[in-house]
């Protein structure tokens, strides 16, 4: 008998359990098999693919959507797309979960009860929604107060953004607020030193040594897939050349876990370390003398006209000496010297500024310090250095019809324009909320919110919720209700990005101009939904007059085709293509030829539909007339700003170290608060998708909730154990979370992820975790006016102890 005991047990267990469960005795095997069949049978059909672009973050990855029988079944990167190159991040991979989300809206919702709950909303027909909104707009227009309209939006650089701006211009309002702050600090630093209004692009692919100052380089970066592809090549893609990554940050992040070395600094002292390293470069003569003498000003003499009293060399030697920097950062002399020398002697080296995520741009001081270090290393505009992106040459839109009332409205100051800030047009959503609440230059009476969720993601979530409630009419566009939408008046169900046409310019962090085409994955949008640009155009028609005539196209596809005609007229670049095509175009353009692969605008259009878009891979390094636009025409060392910002800086490192020995730390808010954005929920997008909730923190195996990381020494002093339930309290507010005791965070600080703690977001996000942005005190960096989350301190107290106590595992 060839029956093992195991085999016998296996069958016996199955059959006994079956009879015990009360299965009818007359069942056939076939019935039994049918009963356990999950009953889900996806239909089959012909296979094809549609090219689109991901909008779950600003990264701009080209997508290839695989369809079976006309149904999308998988999303992958578009192989020909220069950003994604056939690859995707976990967010992009989860795109279908957002397309087929069970909580997608299918009808406009009008609020009829108290704010903050979806239960307060009732479905109403589109006609009613559009009638009420257009009536209000017409009224504003008639009484000559068009500036009382505001738009709060994300930054996807697509049709929705361009239509929103156009709508405001035509209507007559200056208040176009981009809620996404991700690139603001880096943009400001590049502007102040090089005079160019753009976010820098770091050429990691071509460098040998990267000093990352607290950047989320391999997580929620500006264009994550583009950067991760570059990083793969930097590490193992170049025979004989393997790059080294050094990560400088108070919390060992996922980027830090991939790095060759983690240098733990005190929270908020990254910029000080950058200047300390700069000082070593100068004092040891390891800086790029040619670049500094030919292309920089302010090195040996203070920058003329800036009001600065010290030259860079003086500032560094007086304020950023080895001992002092070691003392302030907590990094030893030896490590500073070693890192500085490694950096200086690498064949090609690069310092990356502390952009921590779409919501956490870093401070101007830190970015200026990193820019200064890069200039000393001769990095501006050289291969493997800091590049300056170029805008794509899309055709401009026809001039606005003349309208005196609109022109007067446009000429008014933006309601959110930063007090005493730089006239860069950087948005300041928190200031908008303050002015709405306090009463500013003029009231906001109608606001549209599209592609953004400021009640979740701004640095003052509660003030924002109050402001939204106070504005008489707030209209939110959403696929699944956002937190902001729950405080507004109308929620308009939006088509998913995979369901619409779009034409998007290049994402931040990518140096070459590119234009991606999104095509809908099926013929018609989900029932009851409309796209935000379509609705704005419809509203413009309702308002009538010059607002209506500002949109001369019958629909979005014809608008896009008109813009593509501009690309053709630019007579440069090429269709997206393989690496071979790319090398060919580069070579031809380098030699002064243009070899586009299309002969007419029609061919360009159909080529874009097949390849995913247009780009110009040729980057002309050292084009100083384009990348050094300061008054001096040189890179300017801004010692005036470094000094002022450095003096004003009272970073938490000082306080974190202040608690004297033996004093209980729980009593006063003394711990520094370190915020980070896990890639799956970065920018406040992702928690609504269950696959992404699973991935929050693989290192600590955390998912589906908010946790707070705390160093074992600090935890011991407060009496916190791993997995305790704790409350974090600041001067502003408090949240609860699960404590995780780990040496990944430095002493005297706590680290908390941003992206959870939503009211909206559907069944998987709503009520899951906590939003640490509610803890932030309303501090701002001087000079830049950027929010300063690092100014917040918290205290931690245990509120509950799980019976299992330490270690679930």
């Amino acid at each position: 008998m060839n029956v093992t005991r195991r085999r016998f047990l296996g069958f016996a267990a199955g059959t006994v359990a079956g009879t015990a469960a009360g299965v009818p005795a007359s069942w056939t095997l076939s019935d039994w098999m049918a009963a356990i069949d999950p009953g889900v049978r996806p239909p089959t059909g012909p296979e094809d693919a549609v090219l689109s672009v991901c909008k779950l973050c600003p990264g701009g990855c080209g997508l290839r959507v695989r369809r079976i029988g006309g149904r999308p079944v998988k999303v992958d990167g578009n192989l020909l797309h220069p950003v994604s190159g056939g690859r995707l991040c976990p967010k992009g991979q989860a795109a279908l979960q957002s397309l087929f989300h069970p909580d997608r809206l299918s009808s406009p919702l009008r609020r009829v009860g108290p704010v903050g709950s979806l239960d307060s909303f009732e479905p109403r027909p589109w006609e009613e929604a559009l009638a009420e909104i257009s009536e209000r707009l017409r009224l504003l227009h008639q009484v000559g107060r068009p500036e009382s309209l505001a738009i709060l939006r994300g930054n996807q650089r697509g049709v929705a953004d361009r239509v929103a701006r156009r709508f405001l211009d035509a209507f007559g309002s200056p208040t176009d607020v981009v809620v996404d702050r991700g690139e603001q600090a880096a943009t400001l630093a590049l502007y102040l030193t090089q005079g160019v209004r753009a976010a820098p692009a770091y050429d990691v692919r071509s460098t040998d040594y990267v000093l990352s100052f607290g950047s989320s380089l391999l997580e929620a970066w500006s264009s994550p897939v583009h950067m991760m592809r570059a990083y793969g090549e930097f590490r193992q893609g170049r025979p004989g050349r393997r790059g080294k990554l050094v990560q400088i940050e108070p919390r060992l992040s996922v980027t830090g876990s991939s790095a060759d070395e983690w240098i733990d600094v005190r929270p908020g002292s990254e910029g000080i370390l950058a200047l300390g390293i700069a000082n070593v470069l100068v004092s040891e003569g390891l800086y790029d003398r040619d670049f500094v003498s030919e292309r920089c000003v302010g090195f040996l003499e203070p920058l003329a006209g800036s009001g600065g009293r010290l030259s860079l060399a003086e500032l560094l030697s007086r304020r950023y000496g080895l001992e002092e920097v070691a003392d302030r950062t907590g990094v030893s002399n030896n490590v500073i010297l070693r890192i500085a020398r490694e950096f200086a002697t690498a064949r090609s080296r690069l310092a990356v500024g502390p952009r921590k995520g779409p919501l956490l741009p870093g401070s101007l001081f830190d970015h200026l310090a990193v820019q200064t270090l890069n200039a000393l290393a001769g990095n501006p505009d050289r291969p493997g250095g800091v590049l300056v992106p170029e805008e794509a040459p899309l055709a401009g839109w026809p001039e606005l019809p003349s309208d005196e009332s609109a022109a007067a409205g446009r000429a008014r100051p933006r309601l959110d324009s930063a007090e005493g800030g730089f006239e860069l047009g950087l948005s300041d959503p928190e200031r908008l909320a303050e002015l709405v609440l306090r009463g500013g230059f003029y009231p906001i009476e109608v606001a549209f919110v599209m592609g953004a969720d400021p009640v979740l993601t701004s640095m003052t979530p509660e003030r924002f919720a109050q402001a939204i409630e106070k504005i008489p009419l707030v209209v939110s566009f959403a696929t699944v209700p956002t937190d902001t939408a729950l405080y507004g008046d109308w929620i308009l169900p939006e088509t998913h990005f995979l369901e619409r046409w779009d034409l998007e310019t290049g994402p931040p962090g990518v140096p070459f101009p590119l234009v991606s085409l999104s095509q809908p994955v099926w013929g018609k949008a989900s029932p009851g939904t409309r796209s935000a640009p379509d609705v704005l155009i419809e509203l413009a028609a309702e308002v009538g007059g010059s607002v209506a005539s500002a949109f001369p196209w019958p629909d979005v596809p014809s608008m896009i085709r008109a813009e593509v005609a501009g690309l053709f007229a630019a007579r440069r670049g090429a269709l997206m293509g393989s690496e071979f095509d790319e090398a060919w175009v580069r070579m031809m353009e380098g030699a002064g030829w243009w070899a586009p692969g299309y002969r007419t605008a029609e061919e360009l259009w159909s080529g874009m539909r097949e390849s995913g878009g247009w780009w110009d891979p040729f980057y002309d390094h050292g084009d100083w007339r384009r990348v050094l636009l300061t008054d001096s025409g040189r890179f300017e060392f801004r010692t005036d700003l470094l000094q002022q910002l450095g003096d004003d800086r009272r970073p938490p490192y000082a306080l974190a170290a202040a608690g004297s020995e033996g004093e209980p730390l729980g009593a006063r808010p003394l711990l520094a608060l370190v915020l980070f954005e896990p890639l799956p929920v970065a920018g406040g997008v992702g928690a609504e998708l269950p696959f992404l909730q699973e991935l929050l923190e693989p290192g600590l195996e955390e998912s589906w909730s908010t946790w707070v990381e705390i160093h074992p020494e600090t935890a011991a002093r407060i009496g916190i154990r791993d997995h305790d339930r704790v409350r974090l309290t600041s001067d502003q507010g408090s949240i609860e979370a699960k404590a995780r005791v780990t040496a990944r965070i430095v002493e005297g600080a706590v680290a908390v992820p941003v992206g959870l703690g939503r009211k909206g977001g559907g069944r998987w996000a709503s009520g899951c975790g906590a939003n640490p942005l509610r803890l932030l005190v309303a501090a701002r960096e001087t000079v830049s006016g950027l929010p300063a989350p690092e100014a917040t301190r918290v205290r931690v107290a245990v509120v509950g102890r799980d019976g299992h106590g330490e270690g679930r595992a």
Binding site: I36, P42, V73, P102, Y231, S257, P712, T742
Partner: protein, 233 residues
């Protein structure tokens, strides 16, 4: 006869977890909620395993490595299956035959890599999530064990396609979803029997090692350890 294997370069890997989601979407894994996750019952055929966080007082380090099914040449799981629901095929793929599985979970215990998952619940795809499911992979019922298949349904299609076009299977015709999605190109897949394949070449690297190779499981997933600055690529 081909022998399919994978190489994962930890020097390229950024621990972004694109592979994890790519796998779930490709293979019709149902969504779970916080409650199931809390019980440790969410299903993931491929996960990032942490290792190396230092003990108290020393400098912490953290490494994350993607762990799919190793498709061992000498698999411990197949030996304990009482009903032959899991078997190693001619091309080295360790298959899982759901219709046969009785859910005894001997295999989940036997697998030293803990990559086998048990279905504690009937899969639930709330309306309209069902519409996004792929017909290439069947939905697993409650009470069976499932695991990474190296996306063998892609092999089924690729092989048929090649035969239909009357040509041999070319390198790159058959690639699992995780490998396809990896942004840093850390994962490579191919025929280990073909000395000219990329996986065979990478396997020769001095950085190559296998997970728990001392157990004699002969895994077909090879890892490349982190490199040194200035070291050989």
């Amino acid at each position: 006869m081909a022998r399919w294997g994978m190489v994962i370069d930890l020097d390229r890997c950024t621990a972004c977890q694109a592979c994890v989601v790519a796998c779930q979407v490709e293979n019709n894994v149902p969504p779970t909620g916080a409650d199931q996750a809390e019980l440790g019952r969410s299903i993931s055929w491929l996960r990032l395993a942490p290792h190396g966080e230092a003990e108290h007082g020393t400098r912490p380090q953290m490494h994350l490595m993607p762990v799919p099914c190793m498709h061992c040449d000498n698999p411990p799981c197949t030996k304990v299956c009482p009903v032959q629901a899991t078997q190693i095929g001619e091309e080295g793929l360790v298959g899982q035959i759901y219709a046969r599985c009785i859910g005894c979970r001997y295999c989940t215990t036997a697998c030293p890599y803990t990559v086998r998952e048990f279905n504690w619940k009937q899969p639930d795809f709330p309306e309209p999530m069902e519409q996004g499911l792929s017909p290439d992979v069947s939905i697993r019922p409650k009470g069976v064990v499932e695991k990474c298949t190296f996306c063998h349904h892609r092999l089924q299609v690729a092989r048929d396609r090649a035969q239909l076009e009357d040509r041999p299977l070319a390198e790159g015709d058959y690639v699992p979803a995780c490998v396809e999605s990896c942004p840093a190109a850390a994962m490579t897949f191919g025929d280990l029997e073909d000395p000219n394949s990329e996986v065979s070449r990478l396997k020769q690297s001095q950085r190559a090692f296998q997970l728990l190779e001392e157990l004699g499981t002969e895994p077909k997933v090879t890892y490349l350890s982190k490199g040194e600055w200035g070291g050989q690529v």
